[in-house]
């Protein structure tokens, strides 16, 4: 058995991957209509082109008044104002300013007429014939949204690198923007390596394993939305066939090729022969599961070699490649949520390696608990089904005791 030597740390692997991605992928920008841009990555900073609102408007349904007219109003001394009209959103403000002693009906979003400087809500008044009855003074500015208060012309609405979410769509369209420049999707080919594999749907053969690892990777990529993913199929444990398959994907336009399996440290490590023919990014990571995760540049393209074991491949994508892509494109809004939780039992670690421990987080009386699941067995799929987060134990730490507060990265 050949040992993996010169393993890199998780941070180092991410750093090297980000640099290799930058070196190997030219990520052109494409212009899309806003409706087609959901979940894509913005390739430009976007600034507001108008003030919003464009004039002072009312935040509520009510009556626009001159606050000075309401001074001294109380339950015992109600004041009356005569109602002189109605304004709706999108209407132009009146030509004439509001006269002393008058009020005007305004619907939420309507412009504030000149002279008025506050809006009193329906629940704070009563109506007597065509008069408004006020029971307390209305402070200046009450319920008015000032011109440009939501955003002002020139405000940065969205950063380059932002995932285009509904809130960004809202801001862009409200500013009149209908087209955006986004990064094109990254073309990824996923192939499974291993004589022992058969495809799901094929007949079951004793001793063979259904290929699931490449499907996990495919679906992780698909869900993350940044990729056009092509599933290639199973390549046998044969270094020449593997090289041909990788070269074929590159010639067909793959920006990135991901392999699962064939990364063992044993004699049968077919990926190793391919790595030797390329420029090594790293070979092996001080991380468990996922230690054999490797990466190299071949034919000017990045090849990411994930373990053949489901959970180890999941870790290689989640902890390494996904974070490297975020770093490379400086993506905002793609990071996992983090909660602080107390461990329900001790989790050990081998010093010199980081452990990626899957946990089930639950909330009990306002406190989060993280229950580590199935510490052994990177092939154990049920551990993915039954967990909703992961904890990383750093290389230098001998494990965490029960009740230690830990950061949990949540995924679904």
């Amino acid at each position: 058995m050949k040992a993996l030597i010169n393993l890199v740390s998780i941070d180092d692997a991410i750093e090297r991957l980000a640099m290799a991605l930058d070196k190997t992928i030219v990520l052109d920008v494409e212009e899309l209509t806003i409706l087609n841009s959901v979940n894509r990555i913005l390739a430009e900073d976007i600034y507001a082109e108008i003030d919003r609102p464009e004039v002072d408007v009312t935040a509520v349904d009510g009556y626009a008044v001159r606050s000075i007219d309401t001074v001294g109003a109380s339950q015992y001394n109600p004041l009356e104002l005569s109602i002189v009209g109605v304004l709706k959103p999108g209407q132009k403000p009146l030509e004439k300013c509001l006269d002393p002693g008058t009020a005007i009906r305004v619907h939420t979003g309507a412009p504030i007429p000149c002279g008025a400087d506050a809006v009193v809500m329906d629940e704070d008044i009563s109506i007597s014939k065509d008069h408004l009855v006020i029971y307390k003074p209305v402070p200046q500015g009450l319920n008015i949204i000032r011109r440009g208060e939501d955003f002002a012309r020139g405000d940065l609405l969205a950063h380059k690198g932002s995932v285009i979410k509904p809130s960004i769509i809202a801001a862009l369209t409200a500013s009149g923007i209908s087209r955006v420049r986004v990064y094109r999707k990254i073309n990824v080919s996923v192939l499974a390596v291993g004589d022992e594999l058969v495809e799901p749907g094929e007949e079951h053969v004793e001793g063979k394993t259904y290929n699931s690892t490449a499907y996990i990777v495919y679906s992780l990529l698909q869900r993350d939305g940044l990729f056009d993913v092509n599933y290639v199929g199973i390549v046998p444990d044969d270094s020449r066939e593997l090289e041909e398959a990788v070269a074929r994907e590159i010639s067909k336009g793959a920006d990135l090729v991901i392999t699962t399996g064939g990364t063992g440290v044993s004699e049968s490590d077919v990926v190793y022969y391919l790595i030797k023919r390329g420029e090594q990014v790293f070979r092996g990571v001080r991380m468990r599961p996922g230690r054999p995760t490797s990466s190299f540049i071949y034919g000017n393209k990045l090849i990411m070699c994930l373990s053949g074991f489901p959970v180890a491949a999941w870790t290689g994508y989640e902890v390494l490649l996904r974070r490297a892509i975020m770093k490379w494109l400086n993506i905002r809004g793609f990071e996992r949520r983090v909660v602080n939780a107390l461990l329900t039992r001790r989790i050990p670690n081998t010093v010199g390696y980081s452990s990626v421990i899957r946990v089930k987080v639950h909330l009990d009386k306002g406190v989060y608990f993280a229950e580590p699941y199935m510490l052994r067995g990177s092939g154990v799929i049920s551990s993915l089904l039954r967990t909703n987060g992961y904890v990383i134990i750093p290389e230098s730490v001998e494990g965490y005791e029960k009740n230690t507060p830990v950061q949990v990265y949540l995924y679904d």
Copy 2:
């Protein structure tokens, strides 16, 4: 002004919507290949068709041994076993059982040969010539994953109603399943109502507002992945034109029509005229923002009328329609994450209404804080950009004081 009467509670609105969805939409099932099923909703329970693993296998790289052979081993009394071969994943177990005093090299996932009952890891042994040197007794069963331990034939792998995530893809493919039955997507048409609206990209006209609300709803639907969404465009404040537009979408196959705007309680409420021609589900909700949210059945289809104000429409989708769809299809894995957080300041509520308050959650020294944002102004888009969760204050509560622990629903 006509007041909204008979407003329903949030829970009642969700319940009525779920019933109306069930009554109006026949959601056929389609069969997809597993690669095309990511993020779709499973329409059947799925059970494992095989045991995984199919035989006892090793969870680690190491040596399979007979535990009885290791009794009495210690640093002072190391025991030697002769290494008789190597087993890799996918290989058949040896014909012959492991002889006393022997061990066999096993790579993670390899079958445990008959006779062996434990696996000792590489870091716990040393190798002397072709002998394995053991320094402590190896407990029976160590590092062995038992047949069916991950999942056993007949185990429920995924519930009907589950969102198909990578972990489910993993379990299904590992069980040999390549095709799944999922609900077809729901066809939704979104249309904006309002004379005051212009489309983003069109020239800016004073007093007009860029349509952003329908785009938010479109992108929320798009992101949630359950829908085929069709953006129809702007319909003027004219009840006949609106009715024609709705009827046209239904005739073109919409399962559900969502309108934004035109829901005011004022004389110009064009949606109201349409509601009167259909069967009312509810008209108005005791919820702020989003109070005018209404729903009715027209031409046997559900029409969901959201506010024209961005945040109010967002609330109508997020708090009402989205939850109703989850309830209708009993969807698992679609609910928002919840964190417990302390309010950074008081939030008031008008008793008799539920308030949906957008907050920015941040973590400080292990404690979550929720900062309420812009309590007023359902048109204020920047409040969506700057928040990452929401709190619901129940109808019966007069508000929450500063430092009250609240449940925050996180969204992105």
